[in-house]
Structure formats: structure tokens, C-alpha cells
Amino acid sequence: MGRIILLLLSVLSAGFSGAQTPIETGRYLATAADCVACHTSSNGRPFVGGRPFHTPFGILYSTNITPDKKTGIGHYTLQDFAASMRRGVGLHGNLYPAMPYTSYYRITDDDIAALYAYFMQLPAVEYVAPKNDLLFPANLRFGLKAWNLAFFDRQPVSEIAGKSPEWQRGNYLVNALGHCGECHTPRNFAFALKRDESLAGNVLEGWDAVDIRPQALQRQGWDRASLRELFRSGASEPGAAFGEMFRVVKHSLSHLSDSDLDAMITYLLDGNETAAEASGDVGGNPGSAADNYPEGRGDFVAYCAACHGREGTGTTIAFAPAMDRNAGVRGENPYNTIAVILRGLPAQRMSRTNARAGMPGFASELSDARVAGLVNFMRTAWGDPGGEVTEDQVAKIREDLRKHGFIGEKK
């Protein structure tokens, strides 16, 4: 009974109206933590695992977290469950830190209990994921103990003084449940998060999980309304979510309550509520872009303009977003603009009435110099250039994408 009352309290403090059972709370928290994204293979049943993760140390597979006694977590007590969530200690040894226990250790006791209640009543499915295929010495699980000692900095989330309750809730959602930093925070040589560069952006699976610190978001042109729409629908005026972020919106963010989304935005913007151009910073100069990068302009007209518009104004967000003030074009790091041109984007379906067309990639047709020209044209015309993109930069990104199989060999 005591626990139930506690849970109800935490539910109320989370801004829900009406009482929820622990299981309902757990389901909501599992959505906020986006467990399904990793613990489901493509076309597989939810939570049975088997999704491959390509790390610099080899391939890891997510595990079965349904309560099957043989192959899942059926034998886990609440304490076992908490240990795996918070410290990466499973019944059969340490978990690899692809499991974001480095973020989940901040989840409160009540929320852990609700998550446990939810997972234990799921239908049990017997399924064993493929064996991990890791390079030495990463294949030795006992090494993880040392890794944890060296890199798992377990500072509790302390309440930051002087911030609103909404901000604190946002901090919890972003850094504990949402584990945003697992993608958006750079990692060191041992693949551990660099805590002092929290949320500063990180290249992963051939995309830049962009810098989402307050000033960076502001520079990219995000404000409260556009972030809210992005988190709800997967796209808004400054741009669209793609790659892993699309899945995050689809399976997690779009299902969160209004108040929780607003709390996350409050935390992310941290007072920088006005997008850059509204605060007097102008978004680009098409005239000087055309003068300085005539080939880039020519390629924009030939390759991009039929969909992204003559003046970069786009068509509709669902089809081809505007390049004028696009968050990717405006962002400091040109990685994604270059990568999208080279590898294209797959079509994406959020729901029956919300889907987006894909984009072909032009890796085999556009040389490094032409891609650089095109990106420089766009950034000068509609972005906030901050330094010219060089042919070498494009070549390095191309090589990186080729090595990991995201684009084919150079023709």
C-alpha cells in the first residue's frame, strides 16, 4: 500500500490528471525511456530484443526484456531489475553500456518500481537474441567492471538551485528517462560519455546527433513552438527528425503528455526562448551566396530546387522542408547537410496520416568539391555560415560513410 501511495504521488507530481495504476505509470515511463526502440528488432515483437548495434568494438544485440523465465527477465526481482537498470548488472553478469544505465541510474525508486510492474505483466516471449560479435578485449564481460569503475560517474541528479520545478522535471526526462545524452553527448576513446561536454553533439551511425545545448538550439533556429511540433509530429518549420531521432519521436516523444514535453523544452532551451533570427541575427544572404558559389548554386538548381524550392523555401514539410533557415543548414556542424546529400534519406511513416517522402542520395554523382560548393552555397544563402566547408571535410565524411556501408563505393 505504501508503495502505491508513493507512486500516486509521483504520478501527480508528474502532472497527470487522474489516478493511474502502477502498470499504467510503468507503461508511460517505458515510453518516455523508449525501451521499445532498442529492445525490438525490425519487424520483431516489442521488447523481445535482437536489434543489432554496430559499435566500434563489434556488434551487440539487445536482449529479451519480456518476463519469460528462460530467456527474458522472468526471474528478476525488483532489486535485480533495479541493479540492471541503474548499474548495468544483470543476473548473468555486467551489461554492456549500450544499455543506457549510465543515464538510467538517475531514475527514481518509484519510477523503477513502476517500470518493473509494467514489464513483469507483459506477455512472456521465449526468444534468444543472436550472440554478440565483439572484438577482443571488449568481448570479455569482466572488463566491464573496470570500465564501470573508470568511466561510470554516478553522481546523483541533484536539484539545480534556482531552476523552476518544470525545469527540474525536464532535466529528469532528458537526462534520466529520455537518455538523450547517450546519442547527443560525445564519447571518449573507451566509448564513455564525456560528461563535461554533455549534449554537445556526436556522430553516430553516419549522422550527427546534433548539439542540443541551449545556445546551439537557438542558433539552429528552434524555439518552444517549433520544438513542440517536432516532438509531436517529427517535423516542423526548422526541419525534420530523421534516422534514430525519427524513431525516438515515433515511439517515445510523440506519446508524452503536453506538460512533460513542455518541461523537456524548458530544460533544453534553458531560458533561450527566442530563436536566433528573431533576436536580430539575420539568416543568410542569397545574393552573396550566388556570387561566391556559382557552381554550388547551379547544382542546387539542378539537384535540389525541384523539391526544395527556387529560393530554398521548400514544398511542404512532409515532402521537402525549406532550406531557408533549416536547422541543419544553420547549425554550426555541416556534417548532416553533407551526409544527407551523399546518402539521401529513407521515406518515413509516423502514422497513417503523417508520412514523409524520401530523398535520393547523390554520392555516386557529386564529387567532394561539388558537394562542398553546394553546401557552402546553401549555408551562405540561408544559414549562418561560420566557416567555409572544404573539399577535404567532405572527403573525410564520404570515407567515413563508405567504410560503414552507408554509401556505395565511389564510381
Binding site: G298, V301, A302, Y303, A306, C307, T315, E365, K411
Partner: protein, 181 residues
């Protein structure tokens, strides 16, 4: 509106240079300047593949390309094949023989309204061309057809007859299917 000089080879014939508004899509160029109306506009946003034409790569390989989403500048100097270029013709332009893909589509009653057909014919032709260079084992045939044509939308036929027609061509053309992997 700025114009650019455009020249390319279309169905084996040199075209241009002609001055064309730089924002003209390849699809519009084919229809409006060359009167090649076999290439159809379906969605206009790169999704349905009705407008697919073929572009010859440096190595001679045929690449299916959507003509609705890129402007003429991309194709300056390229060699392009449209559905009009599939059949064999005599010097007067009269059709002597349809291509194997076209014949198979007719035999199988693969299309109804025909709006998507030019795109299917071209993509299937590119697949045959690719298999000639890189044959696959018999067990892979269905998969490669699906990969090549899976994105093409047809609102009439239910796809089975397209599928059957393409498989027929692959299985009856020597050299496209390997004995074993």
C-alpha cells in the same frame, strides 16, 4: 528567368544545345521540348516512380532515375532512355520489335490504365541490365525483383502480373541466373 544551354542524348539521338529555363524538370523537358509524352507524371514528389527514366552511367550501366524531382541541369551531357526508346525501330522510326520486357508485360496483361507502366518498363529493363552484369542465384530472383520494383506504385493491377512478367523475362533470358551461389 535564367536559361541554361541543355544538351543530352535521348534514346540514342543527340538533342540540343537548347536554351531552357533552369528550373525545368527533366520530365517537363521530355514532354514539352521533345514531345516525348510516354513518361508520365504521377505524384510529382518522387514517391510513385511513374516518371522513372534510365540514365547511362560511365560504365554503361543503366540507372533508374525519377524525372520529376530533378531539373534539366543534372542531366546535361547525360545519355537518357525513355519508354519510347525501348523498342527496336527502323530508320523511319517505325517499331520493328518490342523489347522482351514490353512483350512480357503485354503477354501477362500486366497493366490496365497504363499510367505507371513506363516507370515499370524502365526499372525492369535496368534490372535485366544489372543481372546481365551480376547474375544472381535462382533463389534470389524474387528478392531482386522486389528490390528493383518494390517502390513503384500501381493503382490498378495489384502487382502480381508485373511480378510474373519480370520473372518470366529473367528466367527465359540466358545468363541472368547463376547455377548456384
Amino acid at each position: 528567368m535564367a536559361k541554361i544551354p541543355v544538351s543530352m542524348v535521348v534514346n540514342g539521338e543527340r538533342v540540343g544545345p537548347v536554351q531552357v529555363d533552369e528550373y525545368t524538370t527533366l520530365l517537363d523537358f521530355l514532354q514539352e521540348y521533345l514531345n516525348l509524352t510516354g513518361t508520365k507524371l504521377g505524384c510529382g514528389i518522387g514517391v510513385c516512380r511513374a516518371c522513372t527514366i534510365l540514365v547511362e552511367g560511365n560504365d554503361g550501366a543503366l540507372e533508374p532515375v525519377r524525372s520529376c524531382i530533378n531539373n534539366v541541369g543534372r542531366f546535361n551531357g547525360s545519355s537518357v532512355t525513355t519508354v519510347e526508346g525501348q523498342a527496336q525501330r527502323n530508320s523511319n522510326g517505325e517499331v520493328l520489335a518490342l523489347s522482351p520486357v514490353q512483350q512480357a508485360f503485354l503477354r501477362n496483361f500486366s497493366f490496365q490504365c497504363g499510367w505507371c507502366t513506363a516507370g515499370f518498363v524502365n526499372a525492369a529493363t535496368a534490372l535485366i541490365d544489372d543481372l546481365r552484369r551480376r547474375p544472381v542465384s535462382a533463389g534470389k530472383v524474387e528478392q531482386v525483383i522486389e528490390e528493383a520494383l518494390g517502390e513503384h506504385i500501381c493503382r490498378c493491377t495489384g502487382y502480381v502480373r508485373y511480378f510474373r512478367a519480370v520473372r518470366e523475362v529473367i528466367e527465359s533470358t540466358p545468363g541472368l541466373v547463376k547455377e548456384a551461389d
